[in-house]
């Protein structure tokens, strides 16, 4: 099956397929729209928000094996609504898409699942919290979470333990995505410690590390002239963390946003322009050539670092392909992190 088309249909239920990442849900007919000054209620808001068109539970982790080998891990569940209602049975207008990946310095293993909500195959409940598609699951109380996924060549079982509070991006979780005001609700748990086991073709690998879980939902996250994004989540050795993204526009300009997170979980949002990211070097991948070394700056926090992909070929060969993989940080700050790049062709 040409899943690409299906996925495009999922991501862009009413937009022209050819537009790709551009115009990702630029109209919101009937769907809820994020409004400023949100009040989050937990655990409810860990669950699904079917009234909004798109939502995700997005976890990335930097890990090391016993021998010091760096690994990256991804577990992502997307929800895409065809209509703003939960529904029941096969006609439920909620489609679910999941990606899982394990990145080693030499390999990048990817798996994808697609399913419909309404029949018990996929979905997210808030109390008890369970995010699931097929046998892939993220379950627990957000203090600890168990996470599992399996592909044709890999599997993992890890446990996450929260060592800090949730953090809210933008204005208390209201994250503006363009100058025209497109926005999403966006919070994270960047303080997970992780331990568990990777099952790789070469055998089982015990790993420990840190994970970062993003929660975001909206109905029109991008403006029509935005073609893709470069998203960074960096954890510095001094305990500070930084989330920053660059939304690339078709006119060559870009829109940036960043959140500075102290070890205590205090956040500082930074408006457009404060965060800068400049490609330094491009690498060939299984897909197109993409920048795999970046100069990243947040002058107001004295950040001037080079971000380098651990495995330049972390290309996600999923229905909508993109790049997602672990990175190392050097320069004014040392550390690790994750990089996501979409909309490259």
């Amino acid at each position: 099956m040409n899943v690409k088309a299906i996925l495009l249909a999922i991501c862009l239920p009413y937009a022209a397929v050819a537009q790709g990442f551009a115009g990702l849900g630029t109209e919101a007919d009937g769907f809820g729209l994020p409004t400023p000054d949100p009040t989050f209620v937990f655990p409810d808001d860990h669950g699904a928000h079917p009234a909004y068109r798109i939502e995700w539970w997005y976890l990335t982790a930097n890990m090391t094996g016993d021998d010091g080998t760096p690994y990256g891990l991804q577990w992502t569940l997307f929800r895409s609504a065809l209509a703003p209602e939960a529904g029941d049975g096969w006609t439920a207008p909620q489609l679910w898409l999941a990606h899982a990946a394990v990145t080693t310095p030499d390999n990048h293993y990817v798996a994808q699942r697609i399913a419909r909500g309404g029949i018990g195959q996929a979905g997210v409940t808030s109390d008890p919290f369970e995010a699931r598609i097929d046998e892939w699951a993220l379950t627990g109380d957000w203090q600890t979470l168990d996470m599992t996924a399996t592909g044709a060549e890999f599997a993992y079982d890890v446990t996450l333990t929260a060592e800090g509070p949730l953090v809210f991006h933008g204005e208390d979780g209201y994250s503006v995505k363009s100058a025209e005001g497109q926005a999403s609700y966006y919070y994270s748990q960047p303080f997970f410690s992780l331990n568990g086991t990777l099952l790789l073709p070469e055998g089982e690998v015990a790993v420990t590390g840190n994970a970062w879980l993003d929660r975001e939902w909206s109905s029109q996250p991008l403006s029509a002239n935005q073609s893709g994004w470069d998203w960074f989540s960096l954890s510095f050795e001094d305990g500070n963390k930084m989330m920053g993204f660059l939304l690339r526009q078709t006119d060559g300009d870009s829109y940036s946003s960043a959140t500075w997170i102290t070890p205590e979980g205090e956040t500082t949002p930074f408006p457009d322009g404060a965060f800068r990211a400049q490609p330094l070097e491009r690498s060939p991948t299984s897909g197109p050539e993409v920048p795999t070394t970046w100069a990243v700056q947040l002058p107001e926090r004295g950040v001037d670092v080079t971000v380098t992909a651990i495995n330049p070929d972390a290309w996600m060969t999923t229905s909508v392909p993109y790049w997602e993989g672990p990175v190392t940080v050097t320069g004014s700050h040392e550390g690790v992190g994750y990089l996501e790049m979409t909309g490259y062709e």
Binding site: N2, A9, G87, W90, T91, L95, G120, A152
Partner: protein, 796 residues
């Protein structure tokens, strides 16, 4: 000079427009046959591939309920949550349309229509009313269904696709699934099937090789026909070009005498031929398209009837046909003209025709040809004894046909020599000698006729044998006078109660799909009844076969299963762990898969959840109407659910007869082309023969007599060829029935002979030869005496 020479060369056609027409016609016809067959072939293959790509659920491993029943949707979810990448499928029938419900999100590759994958609006497909995809004619039958209808021409006829949720709703089967397709690539870890779904068993996907081989054999036989028609076509082109060269010999001599260099002359002639070939090629491709268009419903019918493969019946003129058609026209012309041009190049400047010398040279060639022919026939003999694969079967056909064709002039010469020896009168002796003299010029055309006739005899013998066997088989299979189906188990039991005492016997028709000796098989549970004992014909069976079946120990299997699984009477097989002894093998024609019959009692023990919904009713002929009324009026069974055996038979034979329309039509066309080849050859010879006929005319034989003798000669040669074609055709039929058919379909057909058909065919061949000979004979009879007299005054 070029212009003047070309003008001179082409002026010939202005003076002989009819001949131009026959040359172009011959070439066009040959191209048409070739490209028509290719077109049918390519189109059938393309449609079949498209069908295979869209509906190829069978390619994947499947999880099915052990008891042959439905699978709960909850089981599907449990399996997915246990790490099994499976996709649900449900199917049913609405107004005669097979409607398939799929889940586009989890369906493995190529199990759902292409357009759904690429352009479909997933929301419209899955939610609200849902959409049904099918081709236009099928959609018409679904007009009352509560869903949006979408026309998609690539879906085979009588099949429709919709979302699984929509089909569950339409069939009122919420929460039910029929089959789970298993993705070829499964996750690294998954729960064991026996824990997740103990009631399901894994059925391995049928390798497409099976179906592919079946359809492959059909396409292969069409391709063989294509080559045959091409061969026949080259014979014609050869004849036509030979004629044009022969008749322009004088002009060529004059042009060369006037100083036109040989090389340039040949280049100009080649150019002329190229142009003619291209014109004829274009006409031929269009004609071929028309032939294909006329045959295509037949092709679809053929595949449909034989394999249950549904072919979308649309024909598109593909660029590749243009290319291949034109290439064949030009290539065929080149092959045919090569000899003539070569001969012309070697001809001394002023040489006239030397027919006798040609005959002698031909005699030497004939010896080489005879050796090759014998070698090919020997190989054919060897293959006849050993061939077991499809390709060996076709190699057998090829060596047999080519060997016999090459041997034909040799055989004809022998017969003519024998006849010549018997001739008493001077005219008689001249007639036979003159006929032998003409043989080399006619032999290509006669070979074409031989091939056409042999193919005709062979294929019609096969088809008719098939038909006869099939009709007997239908009598055996459709022994019950009435067939009635119920929609639900309740309706079925009401029906059985209501018919108690009203009919001679009620024969439930119930089956499960399972594996028998690792081969996909339909196992039927049959009631012990005289109907089976009286009507079923075994190919091979124990004496008390039905008794053993009734006792529960015996099983009878169809020939396909017998051959495919390599089983034999006396072998023991297992169904659901119950052992059965094979006690009989029955012919089961036109069925691609294995089938077996056990007794009803054991069947119900093994498959308690299977309820018979169809029944055969044994009713005295005079009571059929009464029982029908009883069914409709008192038991409330809709008419649509009752089938009269006579109607069913008519339906089956109808499907069957459509099946061979294509081969029939190609037979007729091939014969027509052979007649055309004879016509061209005779026309070619006519000009050469004037100098030989003139002395006979001068001795007192009238022109009309000579004309009649010529016509008679053509008919006689055709008659001898027909006599040779008969054993060849029968050998061909045997090869088709006993070798190719077994390799392709898995069953052997008894061979029947149809002398009347052969006589009719022989007569039509003679008639065709006579028709072909009439025009040249008439021309000969009307040759002005002055032309004949000129022979004596010419230097020739």
């Amino acid at each position: 000079m070029n212009r003047a020479a070309l003008h001179a060369i082409l002026s010939y056609w202005r003076r002989n427009p009819l001949q131009l027409l026959t040359l172009l016609g011959g070439l066009a016809l040959a191209t048409a046959l070739w490209s028509g067959v290719q077109a049918v072939n390519a189109e059938a293959r393309a449609s079949y591939d498209a069908a295979a790509n869209t509906v190829d659920e069978a390619r994947f491993d499947q999880l099915v309920a052990r008891d042959g029943g439905v699978i709960a949707q909850a089981t599907y979810v449990a399996l997915r949550r246990g790490g099994w990448l499976v996709s649900p499928l449900i199917e049913g029938e609405i107004n005669g349309v097979r409607i398939v419900g799929v889940d586009p999100l989890t369906a493995p590759g190529q199990s759902i229509p292409i357009a759904l994958q690429t352009g479909g609006d997933i929301g419209a497909f899955t939610t609200t009313r849902g959409q049904i995809f099918a081709e236009a004619a099928t959609l018409e039958r679904l007009s009352e269904v509560d869903a949006d209808l979408v026309d998609l021409a690539t879906i085979p006829a009588d099949v429709a696709y919709a979302d699984i949720g929509v089909v569950q709703r339409l069939l009122r089967r919420d929460g039910e699934v029929d089959v789970l397709l298993v993705h070829p690539e499964q996750p690294l870890r998954q729960g064991p099937l026996r824990d997740l779904a103990p009631q399901l068993s894994l059925r391995e996907g049928q390798t497409t090789a099976d179906v592919g081989q079946l359809t492959g054999s059909f396409h292969l036989s069409l391709t063989a026909f294509g080559f045959l028609s091409f061969a026949v076509g080259v014979f014609i082109v050869n004849g036509a070009i030979g004629l044009a060269f022969e008749q322009r010999r004088g002009m060529i001599r004059t042009l060369r005498a006037l100083g036109l260099p040989l090389g340039r002359l040949m280049a100009l002639l080649a150019l002329e031929l190229l142009v003619l070939a291209l014109i004829a090629g274009v006409v031929g491709v269009v004609l071929g398209y028309l032939i294909a268009a006329a045959l295509l419903p037949g092709v679809a019918g053929t595949l449909n009837g034989l394999y249950g493969a549904e072919v979308a019946g649309s024909l598109q003129l593909r660029p590749v046909w243009w290319l291949s058609g034109l290439a064949i026209a030009v290539g065929g012309t080149a092959v045919a003209a090569g000899g003539a041009l070569w001969q012309m190049g070697r001809l001394p400047l002023l040489a006239g025709a030397h027919p006798r010398a040609m005959t002698m040279a031909a005699g030497r060639r004939a010896r080489v040809q005879a050796i090759i022919a014998s070698a090919l026939l020997l190989i054919a003999g060897g293959l006849a004894m050993t061939a077991s694969s499809l390709y060996a079967g076709f190699a057998l056909l090829a060596t047999l046909l080519i060997g016999a064709a090459l041997a034909l002039p040799f055989i004809l010469d022998g017969i003519l020599r024998l006849c010549g020896g018997q001739a008493r009168s001077a005219l008689g002796q001249w007639f036979w000698a003159d006929t032998r003299q003409q043989l080399p010029g006619l032999s290509l055309a006669l070979m074409a006729l031989l091939l056409a006739m042999a193919a005709n005899i062979g294929v019609s013998t096969m088809v008719s044998s098939f038909r006869l066997t099939f009709l007997e088989f239908l009598d055996q299979r459709l022994a019950s006078e009435l067939y009635v189906s119920a929609e639900t188990a309740e309706e079925a039991s009401r029906l059985v109660q209501g018919l108690e005492g009203e009919v001679q016997a009620i024969l439930p028709i119930q089956w499960v799909d399972t594996l028998l000796a690792d081969t996909p098989t339909e196992v039927y549970g049959a009631r012990d009844d005289a109907t089976y004992r009286d009507n079923w014909v075994f190919l091979n069976a124990a004496d008390d076969a039905w008794d053993q079946v009734a006792s529960g120990n015996g099983i009878v299997i169809n020939e396909q299963l017998f051959r495919r699984a390599g089983l034999a009477v006396g072998d023991r097989v297992r169904i659901a762990d119950q052992p059965f002894d094979i006690v009989g093998v029955y012919g089961d024609y036109g069925n691609p898969i294995g089938q077996a019959v056990i007794t009803e009692r054991i069947f119900q023990q093994l498959y308690p959840d299977v309820t018979a919904l169809r029944f055969g009713l044994r009713v005295p002929d005079e009571d059929v109407g009464r029982v029908r009324t009883l069914l409709t009026d008192e038991l409330g069974i809709p008419n649509a659910q009752i089938t009269n055996q006579a109607r069913l038979k008519a339906l089956s034979t109808g499907i069957f007869d459509r099946t061979f329309i294509v081969t029939d039509a190609l037979n007729v066309l091939t014969l027509a082309v052979a007649a055309f080849a004879i016509l061209m050859s005779l026309l070619t010879l006519a000009a050469m023969r004037i100098p030989q006929l003139t002395p006979v005319w001068a001795l007192g034989v009238t022109r009309w007599q000579l004309g009649w003798l010529d016509a008679l000669r053509a008919v006689m040669l055709a008659a001898i060829t027909a006599v040779v074609a008969l054993p060849l055709g029968l050998a061909l039929a045997w090869a088709l029935l006993a070798v190719v058919n077994v390799a392709a379909f898995g069953w052997e057909l008894p061979m029947y002979l149809f002398p009347l058909d052969y006589a009719r065919l022989g007569l039509s061949a003679l008639f065709a030869a006579l028709l072909a000979a009439l025009w040249p004979a008439r021309r000969l009879a009307r040759t002005p005496p002055a032309d004949l007299l000129k022979v004596f005054s010419h230097e020739r």
